[in-house]
Amino acid sequence: MKIFEENRLKTIFHSPEKKVSIYFTAGYPALIDTVQILKLLAESKVDFVEIGIPFSDSVMDGEVILDSHKVALENGMTIEILFDQLEKIREQVSIPIVLMGSMNPVYQYGFEKFCRRCNEVGVNGLLLPDLPLDDYENYYRVWYQQNDLAPIFMISPQTNDERIKRIDMLGEGFLYALSGNSTTGGSSEIGKSSDYLKKLLNHKFINPVVLGFNIKTKADIKFANQFADGAIVGSAFVKTLKGGFDKERIVHFLEDLIE
């Protein structure tokens, strides 16, 4: 346990600059690409990454990310392989890593073992969108704490004020605020729920707030930063990976995206 060293994910939010995060799916487009993509992102201006654990039946995801999950599973990606990949590369990259995915694969792997391996391979945060807050408090929190793993939770335009308060109390690292009511990569305009976005701006949060879903361009990031401490780009990035790992294309995408 790293008792004296603060979780890297929390450390980066000490500076006032807005943060940018990139989501990509482990094992996509090829099984080994997790490592190359992570290296490339660590060398870029991206502040932290989210790595998706592929699941056959992810209800939160839209077409682009669903397709990446399907391909990753066909490539043979598993949690075990992902941990091995991260373990080998972690010495070389210091960028904070958040793992994101559906509950069931983690549940089958064994929640305690999963959290322990996260710590061993240098994962800093965990976001499971279908993990109920009650289950987190009653069963799993202790393993997050023992392994210095920041629990990341989502809030949405549907989340009432009382619940936002509870989520903010339980969450660490940052709060993942959905830009609207949608699955990932939706076509809806961000900024449609302007009352909600204003609420994000005016609410006094304990945690930094990062906006995600449907954020595709530099302009979207700029818009998100009016209301939040940062933005996450997922589907738009995964789209650039389609057809195979292409360093130039990825670098170009990131240069276009980040100031």
């Binding site: 039946d57 399907k70 069931n104 694969p105 089958q108 792997y109 549907q158 619940r163 009511n181 949608s182």
Partner: protein
């Protein structure tokens, strides 16, 4: 033993609500209000009126001379196949669409496998004047095309589910995704005792009209207070939950659930979740379903599209673990044989789903004075092509011998 949900929506370790945050307020709101709506005399009056005059309830409990003779006991068929729409599914859809209206929802989504739940939802929506969108796997659209046309005729929009295996589980995923994108105005009418709390309990209560009627009919017909066996097929498990409901706390009534073994339990083409599944989290609840050791959901196989689902509802997972219900795995061929036999011997063509319950009888031992109730959950009109093919195949094989 308690077979009802606890205050958190669990049957023992199974159930709960594992949903993304966007859906949380919908689920919470429904969880807080559904029991009050179900208990409201105005709601009950409206639903009872529709069940009687629109659906045609109560359905007969028909003593089957053929099956009684075959098994040397007293077999009764609970004729849910005589419900308007052709199956028990409409008991649930009318109730849920009425609840949706009470909650001020203006749009309905639903999933369907064989199309029975889709048709029943489309009928309820036509009657109660709500637009509806039915998600159906692309594979199922092809193999159940008459039901697709029926839904369209009833004014529903049928949306092909193109992800995954393009069958019922994927239609369910797509319906959830629609709901995530439209959480404010939309109500999701789930067709079985699956999904996040309160759906499993809400659907079980809406289907419990089946066991309420059985409880009234058995004494009239037999002089016994209770049946000795109640047999029903289980995909997700809504007709079984409805048939078992009023007998859950009467241990003298044996509850038998017939699961689809597909081509056999060890064939790799099965849908028998209690035999080949394990505990996990799927479609918003903790329950038993077939999955890889890494937790990826496996495709189910059954000749019957309505049982072609990798999991079962949390109530059934609990009935299995506690031993309250006995689970029997019935193969495609056993079900088809039982369905064809009932057609020839009694003039009733059962849905292939229901034929699994009929076939389960041959796995059981009965006493001569036992009262055995089998839920005939649906009619077989939608399955004619499958029955005819199988029947011709058998005739040809027989001639060749």
């Amino acid at each position: 033993m308690n077979y009802q949900i606890d205050e958190n929506g669990f049957y023992g370790p199974y159930g709960g609500a594992y949903v993304p945050e966007v859906l949380f307020s919908n689920i919470e709101n429904l969880g807080e209000s559904y029991q009050a709506v179900l208990n409201d005399p105005g709601f009950q009056k409206e639903l009872s009126r529709l069940l009687k005059l629109y659906v045609g309830r109560e359905t007969p409990l028909y003593p089957s001379p053929y099956l009684s003779g075959l098994y040397q006991t007293n077999v009764f068929l609970k004729r849910e196949d005589l419900c308007h729409s052709g199956s028990h599914k409409i008991n649930n859809t009318l109730g849920q669409v009425l609840i949706a209206k009470r909650l001020g929802k203006t749009r309905i989504v639903a999933e369907t496998g064989a199309g029975s739940h889709g048709v029943a939802t489309a009928m309820a929506c036509a009657l109660l004047k709500l637009p509806c969108f039915i998600y159906m796997g692309e594979v199922d659209i092809k193999r159940q095309f008459p039901n697709v046309e029926r839904m369209r005729l009833l004014g529903a929009t049928v949306v092909p589910a193109l992800s995954g295996s393009k069958t019922l589980k994927d239609a369910t995923n797509e319906a959830f995704r629609d709901w995530i994108n439209n959480p404010v105005d939309t109500f999701y009418v789930i067709g079985s005792v699956v999904g996040p709390h309160p759906y499993p309990d809400m659907v079980a209560q809406l289907q419990s009209v089946i066991s309420r009627e059985i409880l009234r009919q058995v004494p009239d017909l037999t002089g016994k207070v209770m049946p000795d066996h109640v047999v029903a097929c289980v995909g997700g498990g809504s007709n079984a939950a409805g048939s078992f409901y009023h007998f859950l706390n009467s241990p003298e009534v044996k509850l038998i659930a017939a699961e689809a073994a597909g081509k056999g339990l060890d064939s790799g083409f099965t849908a028998a979740a209690t035999f080949r599944g394990k505990e996990g989290i799927l479609h918003g609840s903790k329950t038993k379903f077939m999955q890889t050791k890494e937790g990826q959901v496996l495709e189910a196989h059954s000749i019957s599209a309505g049982l072609d689902y990798p999991g079962i509802g949390p109530l059934h997972a609990w009935l299995h673990d506690t031993g309250r219900a006995q689970f029997i795995a019935v193969t495609d061929d056993e079900a088809l044989d039982a369905g064809l036999a009932l057609s020839e011997m009694e003039g009733i063509i059962p849905a292939i789903e229901s034929a699994h319950a009929l076939a389960a009888l041959s796995h059981l031992d009965f006493k001569p004075d036992d009262v055995v109730v089998v839920c005939l959950s649906g009619r077989g009109d939608k399955d004619l092509e499958t029955y005819i093919q199988y029947s011709n195949f058998k005739k040809t094989s027989h001639e060749n011998i």
